[in-house]
């Protein structure tokens, strides 16, 4: 309970509306850990957490039983990289909080105040079995976009699972552009920024040790909110480029208390990023994109840096993606890279649900001669547990195992085949409503027969 209380404080967790025990029984169960589905699977959720899962599980006497015979049961889909909740309509600037091109700040920007749990995109994705998402800001005038969060898609006003979980930076073509026109400029800016942070580091609070009931501070960074800066009065050199606020926000990145998600696509860029660990050994790097990752996959694997990739982009859409291929993910996985799927520059504000389709396509590649796909179990993991693990939250979300949050979806059929639909969605053990703007429109217009009153009265 101490842990739960801490979670509230540290993670601003959404606790279930009511503590109850639910048993989802007799379905085709896939736990999201990379294994294949099993028949006759049961999941028991109590007080918002999974307490047992598998075949032959005893159903507690007090459980509310959901019969999932003939259905599939999986963990909720985790958006591997998205802008979910930051935007209502992309082209309507006033509703678009994904980037702040006119802000004087960059690294200090935090997506939390921008997340709208009532954004229609959240409900649309919840309808399709997406229960959590990694949400990053987009870059504005700097290579640093700011601090991203992990959210849930529950129908409540507490969307934040983990605030300020990571910093997001662009170091490929896009970063080169914002930094002044070259990758060299981007790296100079990056190094300078971390050095400015290092001048402030000694004033930052020490990392709290793990142990006991307390969460590991490195996994759940104790973010004595760096934005409420404890280093407010620190001395700095005169020679500074960053605002004090931005430099302060980079302290936890430098210390490895906050993940650093880096978007790069080109093979040479990937190697440059891996090389940053020599200079800044505490960095907790995650590669985002990595379209050419397969060409340097062994080196990514050796570095132990996880990748959140686009699944099926196979076009030389830019000069940094000349080697793009649908086999990228399969090939990286084959040599031991930990790969998750995200929607990178791909309708990332609204269409996280497409990750399901992408995962299915990776399975299909197994049957294309010469191509590299992944197994069904691994494909599901890539849109559930792998993104969670990439940012150190695999113990909390993304899979069905005792102790995890109760994010469970019951599907009409195989969730990686696009023809299936989510029939029941639980987040933190709470059954979620699945209607949204789209389903209401569908019901209003399914029959166009003229009635006594206009359509506006059909609801």
């Amino acid at each position: 309970m101490i842990r739960a209380a801490l979670a509230v404080v540290l993670l601003t967790a959404a606790l279930p509306a009511q503590a109850q025990t639910i048993a989802i029984t007799n379905g085709i169960l896939a736990t999201g850990d990379g294994t294949e589905p099993v028949q006759g699977g049961t999941v028991v959720i109590r007080n918002g957490r999974i307490v047992a899962a598998g075949a032959g599980i005893r159903i507690p006497a007090d459980a509310q039983v959901v019969d999932a015979t003939g259905k599939w049961i999986t963990p909720g889909i985790v958006g591997g990289f998205s802008r979910l909740g930051l935007v209502e309509v992309d082209a309507v600037d006033a509703t678009n909080d994904s980037e702040a091109n006119n802000s004087p700040f960059s690294a200090a920007l935090d997506v939390v105040p921008s997340i709208n749990p009532l954004a229609s995109a959240i409900a649309v994705n919840r309808h399709d079995g997406v229960t959590r998402a990694i949400v990053a800001p987009s870059t504005g005038k700097s290579i640093f976009a700011g601090q991203g969060a992990v959210i849930d898609t529950g129908a409540d006003m507490e969307p934040i699972t983990a605030a300020r979980r990571f910093q997001f930076v662009e170091l490929g073509e896009s970063g080169a552009g914002t930094a002044g026109g070259s990758r060299s400029a981007a790296y100079a800016l990056f190094r300078n920024a971390l050095r400015e942070a290092s001048q402030l580091r000694r004033f930052a609070p020490s990392v709290q040790g793990g142990g006991g009931d307390q969460p590991d501070a490195r996994l759940d960074p104790v973010v004595r909110d760096p934005n409420e800066s404890r280093v407010f009065d620190a001395q700095r050199n005169d020679d500074v480029l960053l605002t004090r606020f931005d430099a302060t926000a980079l302290v936890p990145v430098l210390q490895g208390r906050q993940y650093l998600l880096v978007h790069v696509e080109r093979a040479s860029d990937i190697l440059q990023v891996l090389g940053l660990k020599r200079e800044f050994p505490s960095l907790k790097l995650v590669l985002v994109g990595a379209s050419e990752g397969w060409t340097v996959a062994d080196r990514i694997a050796r570095a132990g840096v996880p990748v959140i990739a686009s699944a099926v982009n196979d076009l030389p859409a830019s000069f940094e993606q000349l080697a793009a291929t649908q086999s990228n993910v399969g090939r990286m996985r084959a040599v031991g890279v930990q790969v998750a799927i995200g929607t990178i520059d791909d309708d990332d504000t609204r269409m996280v649900f497409r990750q399901r389709n992408y995962a299915g396509n990776l399975v299909a590649l197994q049957r294309v001669p010469g191509a590299s796909g992944v197994s069904w179990g691994e494909a599901l993991a890539m849109i559930t547990s792998r993104p969670a693990q990439a940012i150190g939250m695999g113990g909390e979300i993304g899979s069905i195992a005792a102790g995890r949050r109760g994010d469970v979806v019951v599907w009409s059929g195989d969730p990686l085949d696009g023809t299936s639909a989510a029939e029941m969605v639980f987040i933190d053990g709470v059954r979620q409503p699945l209607d949204n703007h789209q389903t209401r429109l569908r019901d209003r217009y399914r029959d166009l027969t003229k009635r006594d009153l206009p359509e506006a009265y059909r609801h």
Binding site: V92, P316, P369, G370, A371, T419, L448
Partner: protein, 466 residues
Amino acid sequence: MRTGRLAGAALALLALSGCASLAPKPKAAPPIKVNLNPYPSTYQRYAGVPTVIRGATVFDGEGQQINNGTIVFADGAIVGVGGADLPVPAGAQVIDGTGKYVTPGIIDVHSHLGNYPSPGVPAHSDGNESTSPARPEVWAEHSVWPQDPGFSRALINGGVTTFQVLPGSANLFGGRSVTLKNVPARTAQGMKFPGAPYGLKMACGENPKRNYGGKGQMPQTRMGNIAYARGVWLKAQAYKRKWDRYERNGGEMPERDIAMDTLRGVLAKQIIIHNHCYRADEMAQMIDMAKEFGYRIGTFHHAVESYKVADILAKEGICSAMWSDWYGFKMESYDGIKENIPFVHNAGACAIVHSDDPNGIQRLNQEAAKALADGIRAGVPNLSEPIAWTWLSRNPAYALGILDKTGTLKAGKMADVVLWNGNPFSHYSRPERVWIDGALMYDANDPKRRPVSDFELGQPGEGDVK
């Protein structure tokens, strides 16, 4: 050549007018025939062998499914489609299709492959001539880069055998479209679908008003969109009257205007309107404008709200080209629903799955699968996989005016055929072989049948499975 003839005619006219007043009234010079096809297709089908696929499940594109079906094609054309008892010509290559599926090649009515090619650098941005709200004089084929790597991805992953390349939607009148066969070629003419009619891209809604309103120009509003377009149509009507009279009576040739040539072709029902239009209310207004000026709209593209006016579209005989689930990227796509395609179909209107996207074009079968499943779940009656395939080949062929040549597996039509390694409505299935005009253009088992564009040669990943 034409100038020479013209000069001769003018001289003759002068000579006549010099005659005595008692001479009969001078006859007008006969009209000169204008070449309306100055950039003709040079496409020629590639060599194929007489081929039989047996034992496959066939979706014929007309709404029928044949289990344990047989398809025969030779000399570029489909010879016959039927059951296991269909006679097979001697000497034909026989492919065992057991456990596999055969369909007509997919046709995408909305692509920018070639005019927004990969890599998407500004030097390649050739889709929008956004220098005036009305640019009917531009032709998409003059922007098409035949080396776009996107063509091969659409072929080998998507089973796409034909597609229409459209200008973008910055303009009310964006220019002429071109329909291409998905074969690698050195020139755009080498891909041009022989005999396909031209289309004209029109746009309503947000894009034109944003593009020009942002520059302080008309149109800045939706009312400006319509007002501007009406003005252009008035000019087109006058131009058409002038040229019709000339072609009937001869005399002095009116001045040619290549912008107006296109619009005259629309008014003469020779060029098909492809109208980018999202919102239901705007579609109704575009229909009224078409009636005002006497032209027909062939297809509304990106028709996100067709489900709201599907009855009107059915009555007017207008197709809707739609996505399965795109929504929310701008206001006019805010009311997108996942049942749009099946609802339009259910109203008896022509439903098409389109991509407008170099990635989406590789998975149109999956988009149709999602729409089909959503439609069935919503209770739309009489939906089935063979019916849903009409959204991918028959209806787009109809929209492009090429249904007599392709789009269904019917004897005599072009042998544009895909053999899938499983049910193409499953995300787990992929094209195994693709024939265009009976020529095997892709074979998953043959690395040599995997096109590599000039751009990709010597680059990282050349010739890889894409």
